[in-house]
């Protein structure tokens, strides 16, 4: 199947709603992080959302955090 369209790919093949829910924005020790839930029910850092360069030395993508220590935003 070849689709010739100006409609963006993400509108043609829409992502499952559940995919969006896997990633969440959280606060951990005052640092905003984008985390993804793992199969073992932990949260893995996907991105550090901070402008302070020091935070990037402490928090790296891949670090696993326990759900109880996280403050969920929205």
């Amino acid at each position: 199947m070849i689709l010739h369209t100006i409609v963006p790919e993400f509108l043609v093949f829409q992502t499952n709603e559940a995919e969006y829910k896997k990633q969440r924005t959280v606060q951990y020790n005052g640092v905003t992080l984008l985390v993804q839930q793992t199969e073992t029910n932990e949260y893995e850092i996907v991105r550090v959302l901070s402008s302070d360069p020091q935070h990037y030395l402490t928090y790296e993508p891949g670090i696993k955090l326990h759900a109880t220590s996280l403050q969920f935003m929205v």
């Binding site: 100006i6 409609v7 963006p8 993400f10 509108l11 992502t15 995919e19 969006y20 896997k22 990633q23 924005t25 905003t32 993804q36 959302l49 901070s50 402008s51 302070d52 360069p53 020091q54």
Partner: protein, 237 residues
Amino acid sequence: MEERDISQEETKPSPAENIVQLGQTNVPQLSSDSTIHCLTIVGQIEGHIQLPPQNKTTKYEHIIPQIVAIEQNPNIEGLLVVLNTVGGDVEAGLAIAEMLASMSKPTVSIVLGGGHSIGVPIAVSCDYSFIAETATMTIHPIRLTGLVIGVPQTFEYLDKMQERVVNFVVKHSNISEEKFKELMFSKGNLTRDIGTNVVGTDAVKYGLIDEVGGLSQAMRKLRELIDHSHQQGAMLQ
């Protein structure tokens, strides 16, 4: 038996009591507050539609509060903006660019890899801009990837939106409107599209970006701007 045991324990001082202080060696700590903060504009600039999680996006609802916090925090002296973006939503990109342009603290931007499309106004919005020698910036006309209704209305709408981008870039960089539009509408540079892909030194030659350089040059410039703003502050007092 039991009673005697207890009394014996009481007379015997526990080892912990003899220790006046449980100490730890002092490790010299770096000051936790950085005076220069860094904002990374990476991936796609996300607008009103949330992109699927596999896309790397810069969300303005994350960036704008950070800019506000940096502006307000008295410990932060300057801001370094690092760009490696493919572009994205025009309104969101212009919002970030306007926020950066209206900051009172010194700002320096570096384009690494790419600062394409709506990344151009963000790169020029800072007080001083750098581009890595290998980095590129694509300048092209505004497009709508979506459902288009009427041709004349669409044209007017896009034309006005494009004027906003052109005006912003011309106002915040040394490029002339004519040159910017010439690059924007030039043919034969991009595959099946109009526009120009400007590489490092060319971006400086056209006046779009101030200087070719990397991290050390950008940090030096930022320090220089901070010192300058301190001097101005002292003179005002």
